[in-house]
């Protein structure tokens, strides 16, 4: 029997009159790297923000380790969510803090480490994403886009989370740096044995980092399957999206 780390049922969320999620069902098996693809504005970010507790869904359930985070106590929900590491689309590094404090922030907040040890620990984690100790004392504004992404990844993995989310990990990066970040993501997820969800509309990235894939369309998951089958899926929506064709059901839907 498959052991699911995350189980989502009937998730709905509207903003005003606009229904973004309209009954999302999604299962992510323990240790699986799930990639959720979908066009811009289809609710991919809302989906992971709902799991993280940053957005409150209108209906549905989100189970982590078999417990519904929307129905357990606030403290328990916080405990369940504290095992999630998140890489934000633009890095979201704290620009008032140096790199090492950014990386060690979660560890210090959780009191898993003493402040006197935090810098050494940050340097150690930075080395795992290919950054030298000289970067630790810089401020985020002094880094290139690729380096910021790596620091953000270091911050996400510092606490060795059991679950990791990646929001558009390659956005704004050149193809080579995108491939480097994808490689680091795969390495980190495998090394930590984490369960991950990545959202992207970069097909090359989706194929590199995903074991399983799902497509979000019109507020629902319209297809799930192994990530390598994305390009050959017999679902017309997935097929049109992955091949970037102008003609097809997605365009028809837009014309309505």
């Amino acid at each position: 029997m498959t052991d699911f780390k995350i189980k989502i049922r009937g998730l709905k969320k509207s903003f005003g009159d606009k229904r973004v999620l309209d009954g999302v069902d999604l299962d992510v098996a323990t240790g699986t790297a799930m990639v959720v693809i979908g066009g811009s504005g289809t609710g991919k970010s809302v989906l992971i923000k709902s799991i993280l507790g940053l957005v409150t869904p209108d209906a549905g359930s989100i189970e982590i380790d078999g417990e519904d985070v929307l129905r357990v106590s606030r403290a328990r929900a916080h405990e369940l969510r504290s095992q999630i590491g998140m890489l934000f689309q633009n890095g979201a590094l704290f620009d008032s803090l140096p790199v090492w404090e950014n990386v060690a922030f979660g560890l210090l907040a959780e009191r898993k480490i003493k402040r006197s040890r935090a810098k050494d620990k940050a340097v150690e984690v930075l080395s795992q994403v290919g950054l030298g100790p000289d970067v630790a004392v810089l401020s985020p504004a002094e880094l290139s886009g690729g380096m910021q992404k790596r620091v953000a990844l270091a911050r996400a993995i510092a606490a060795e989370p059991a679950i990791m989310f990646f929001d558009e990990p390659t956005t704004g990066l050149d193809p080579i740096m995108g491939a480097v970040i994808d490689g680091l993501i795969v390495d980190c997820v495998k090394r930590l044995g984490s369960t991950s969800i990545a959202i992207t509309h970069d097909m090359a990235s989706a194929m590199r980092i995903g074991d399983q894939a799902a497509m979000l369309y019109q507020g629902k998951i319209c297809w799930t399957g192994p990530a390598p089958e994305l390009l050959n899926a017999d679902n017309p929506v997935v097929n049109q999206f992955t091949h970037g064709r102008r003609e097809g059901p997605i365009q028809m839907a837009l014309r309505k």
């Binding site: 923000k49 993280l52 507790g53 940053l54 916080h78 969510r81 504290s82 999630i84 590491g85 998140m86 934000f88 689309q89 633009n90 979201a92 590094l93 704290f94 620009d95 008032s96 922030f105 979660g106 907040a109 959780e110 911050r155």
Partner: protein
Amino acid sequence: MMAILNFIAAIGAAVLDALGLLGALGIFAASGLSHIFRPPFYPRQFGRSLMEIGFFSLPVVALTALFTGMVLALQSYTGFSRFNAESQIAAVVVLSVTRELGPVLAGLMVSGRAGAAMAAELGTMRVTDQVDALSTLSTEPMKYLVAPRLLAGIIALPLLVVVADILGVMGGFLVATLKLGFNPSAYLINTFSELQANDVISGLIKSAVFGFIIALMGCFNGYRSKGGAQGVGAATTNAVVSASILILALDYVLTQLLIRVL
């Protein structure tokens, strides 16, 4: 008929929006204040906010108070000399500065400087997902970002007002003695004989409230900003304008209240 109904509906919608905003502000203030007393505490954030609001506002507050005291002495002399009441200048300067001008001018200056900076910083953090990132790193944003700023505002402004009071009185003293030919000893004796503890205390109470208002409006507007650079700009403007108006309005209410109480 339809036009009238639309007009009434528009008024109703505006009133509901205003009430909603007021409610959100009340909840935000209560939540921020409650986090001041509940651990974990963030002394580094508090220290940084205290420096931002207090220490770095010192020059602008000091200069404002000094020149206000000087102008006050000069204007009072112009008016009082018509009634041969020049001896009352020291009293007018010290009472005006400690009871009214010190807290209000310091509040307005700090609002323009630190309140705007607060709204811009929190607004930028909001639109670049840094606030969400805090939540994902087991840190309550209200506790980490808002509570230390509220506390720093409440503490820093009275300290600034003490400096403003001293420099305001000193400004009046300098003009009165160096330009208007008053006897320095007589001026100081008049100043201290007119000054009562209640005058200073009422000014400090007002300034603590103003400090809270400045930090609250800066945080509230910054925390709720959206829509990128334009949203952050609007949040900054709203923070300064709303804090300035509230300071002036609350000044009257507090004056009325403190006259009865003290």
